[in-house]
């Protein structure tokens, strides 16, 4: 398949791996920010192609993983409300809140629907005028433009039975939080290609300068990821700290300006609590005053328990890259994809789920420990 096979080419992969081996003279720790990249790294065994000197650690870029339990509790409370339909992306459904997941709420009689796009949720509202359709808007800058488009369309068409439970988050404040942490050991970043497709990469330039870290905007296929690692290692070896764009086929410096304008119109930047990490200032998107009428929290006033993460789960350390999933005492025992304690075990982009799926069997588990 075009645009796919050439980025999964075994010879290109080997050539890049060899170049990384030649280039890396010292030890370097690089974080891939996006859960999609984590998934590809584990799925294709990319980390095993790297020399010992280059360590990849997994970042917080799994959208459902960082959604805090109280947001899920609110979504569940809405799903249980009479006449309400709660529409959500599929991989959000299994993530536990403080008492159960949206799938549990559905089994208990709540009307929970899986959609691929906020526009599908809007269509549900059009077709069910006697119901209240609420879209659970989670995700990074990648999913936010579609939420914004649904919001704009709902207001323009006067679809009164549609609202949004917004829990969108932003990548650069999370990188800032990781770099500002005293325990930080990340020396370079692979930035998420799809986020930058929307936002561009200007906003990463001050981060790279201030913290003296290279940031390479990187795609999602094996060739992309290895090339991203190579560019990052080269910068580190040469003492540079720049923003570089590996994902040239998708990303422009200023991103998708139409999408950015839409985000600026519909949303405003707000503080947001991240699961396992805590509150990060100016790290989320909430509805702007002009779109406040679409706020599901105002419509339903859903109750949520005070924030509390499961003490047996080290998701916070995993999301910050401080621990690998197999280092968690609950990994694979108390916590499995069937009975997840924390969100990273749920989504295909979650680091714990990726390790569980690709690295659990004895032959390979030995390499991990």
């Amino acid at each position: 398949m075009k645009y796919l096979d050439e980025y999964r080419d075994a010879r290109a992969v080997e050539a890049l791996a060899a170049a990384i081996r030649r280039t890396a003279r010292r030890r370097w720790t690089i974080m891939e920010v996006c859960g999609g990249q984590t998934h590809a790294i584990l799925r294709f065994g990319i980390d095993r192609l790297l020399p010992e000197t280059v360590e990849l650690i997994h970042g917080p870029g799994c959208p459902v993983c960082v959604t805090p339990p109280e947001a899920i509790d609110r979504a569940i409370a809405i799903a249980r409300a009479p006449r309400a339909i709660l529409a959500s992306f599929g991989d959000m459904l299994r993530v536990p809140g403080s008492a159960g997941s949206l799938l549990d709420a559905r089994a208990a009689g709540g009307d929970v629907r899986m959609v691929y796009s906020p526009l599908d949720a809007l269509e549900l509202a059009r077709r069910n005028p006697s119901r209240e359709v609420v879209f659970f808007a989670v995700g990074f800058e990648t999913t936010a433009p579609a939420t914004a488009l649904a919001a704009k369309t709902a207001l323009a068409e006067g679809i009164g039975n549609f609202s949004l439970l917004v829990a969108h988050v932003l990548v650069p404040p999370a990188i800032e939080a990781i770099l500002s942490s005293e325990a930080n050991r990340v020396q370079g970043f692979l930035a998420a290609g799809h986020v930058c497709t929307v936002m561009g990469f200007e906003e990463y330039e001050p981060l790279a300068r201030r913290h003296r870290v290279p940031i390479v905007v990187t795609g999602f296929e094996p060739v992309d990821i290895l090339e991203g690692v190579l560019l990052c290692v080269r910068q580190l070896e040469e003492g540079r700290a720049e923003v570089e764009n590996q994902y040239l086929r998708a990303v422009r410096r200023r991103g998708n300006e139409a999408a950015r304008a839409l985000l600026a119109e519909v949303f405003q930047v707000v503080p947001r609590r991240w699961r396992g990490i805590g509150e990060i200032a100016a790290s989320g998107l909430g509805l702007s005053p002009a779109y406040a009428a679409l706020d599901a929290e105002a419509r339903f006033a859903p109750a949520a328990r005070p924030p509390a993460d499961d003490a047996r789960c080290i998701a916070g350390l995993v999301l910050k890259g401080a621990r690998r999933p197999p280092a968690c005492p609950s990994f694979g025992s108390a916590c499995t994809p069937e009975h997840p304690l924390g969100a990273p075990m749920v989504s295909s982009e979650g680091a714990c789920a990726a390790y569980y799926r690709y690295r659990r069997q004895p032959a390979s588990a030995a390499e991990e420990s």
């Binding site: 398949m1 992969v13 599929g90 691929y116 989504s347 295909s348 659990r360 390979s364």
Partner: protein
């Protein structure tokens, strides 16, 4: 041979429900409405002597020897999807389970659970599709049952089929017959059924030309057996897809299987949709695909026989190894990773 004579089908449906006619509770009540449903819809559609005996059960002639017996219940949503519907699925699903036992499918039963208010025209369409699928697979539908549940207590229609087939081979076809060194052959490209059904669901708006692979598998299986190929194990790739089928076989047989990702046939539309939706074709359900595990020395001949029996894309995708250790995939970039059983339903990722 005591086979039921070939079915006498007419091209048109014997009754035409008026638009708006719907299933009523009385259709399952044993009275006049139910009688009419049987006489005008089911009997003409599935016409055969066993059914026309109008008895509580079918009395069938069998030879001495082994029979295979299986049952399956179908609850697919939506009921109609590109390339099939619940009717063709219900016939082919059970026909294929019999074929995987190495049996020649002969007879099916059909049980319908109808929801009050279900359009009779849709029921006719489903019955028509079952009739066509049964004819294509060479099986007779010899006994049946209908129940109606109140509106809101069902999902339109659920169908159960059970089937009986005659085992004509002396081979033992089962995981314990699998041997180290055996070749793993898949009968065609994977993932089409699951994606076609997903695409047809109303809340998921993606346009695709994908059609379900729903098809009877007895012909290619019997072709291999008739050609004298020493088939060790067969499995159709329904829920859980290729990965789950092979993991189950490897575990039951106490062997390891290594698959070559590059050799597994996946059509471009399936690859594209899977990449987009975050699904793995290895885990997507099929309704007309199977794996055959057989001696390496027979693999080439098996592929040729399969190609002549309508499986032109049959491909050798892996090999059985001596150690116990589940299923390993050699990825397209040359690395190896273990395949694991899927947990719950595959949930599409969000970005």
């Amino acid at each position: 041979m005591n086979r039921t004579p070939p079915l006498d089908f007419t091209a048109t449906c014997p009754v035409q429900a008026a638009p708006g006619d719907r299933v009523r509770l009385a259709h399952g009540g044993g009275g006049a409405l139910m009688h009419r449903l049987i006489e005008r819809l089911f009997l003409p559609a599935f016409a055969n002597p066993a059914l026309e005996a109008r008895h509580d059960g079918a009395v069938l002639e069998v030879d001495a020897g082994r029979i295979a017996f299986t049952t399956d219940t179908f609850v697919v949503r939506p009921l109609f999807f590109p390339g099939g519907d619940i009717g063709s699925l219900a016939v082919n699903g059970t026909v294929n389970d019999l074929a995987m036992c190495g049996a020649r499918p002969l007879w099916l039963s059909a049980g319908f659970v109808l929801e009050e208010g279900f359009p009779l025209a849709d029921l006719e369409r489903i019955v028509r599709s079952m009739r066509e699928a049964a004819a294509a697979a060479g099986v007779a539908l010899v006994t049946g049952d209908t129940k109606v549940v109140e509106a809101g207590k069902g999902d339109g229609v659920f169908v159960n089929t059970a089937g009986i087939g005659r085992v004509e081979t002396a081979l033992e076809i089962a995981p314990r017959a699998v041997r180290p060194g055996d070749a793993v052959i898949v009968s065609g490209d994977i993932g089409r059924h699951g994606l076609a059904v997903l695409a047809a669901r109303e809340e998921i708006a993606f346009a695709t030309t994908l059609e379900s692979d729903c098809a009877p598998l007895a012909r290619p299986v019997l072709a291999m057996l008739e050609a004298g190929i020493e088939v060790h194990c067969l499995r159709d790739l329904t829920r859980g897809g290729l990965a789950a089928a092979l993991i189950e076989i490897a575990e039951a047989a106490g062997v390891a299987i290594e698959l070559d990702e590059a050799a597994i046939p996946v059509s471009e539309p399936v690859r594209g949709a899977s990449e987009l939706l975050g699904l793995d074709p290895l885990y997507i359900a099929n309704e007309g695909r199977f794996v055959a595990i057989l001696p390496e020395s027979e693999a080439e001949r098996a592929q040729a026989v399969l190609a002549r029996a309508g499986c032109a894309e049959a491909a050798r995708i892996g090999r059985v190894q001596a150690c116990a250790g589940g299923v390993t995939l050699r990825t397209v970039i040359g690395s190896r990773r273990p395949l694991d059983l899927p947990s719950g339903e595959q949930l599409p990722r969000i970005c």
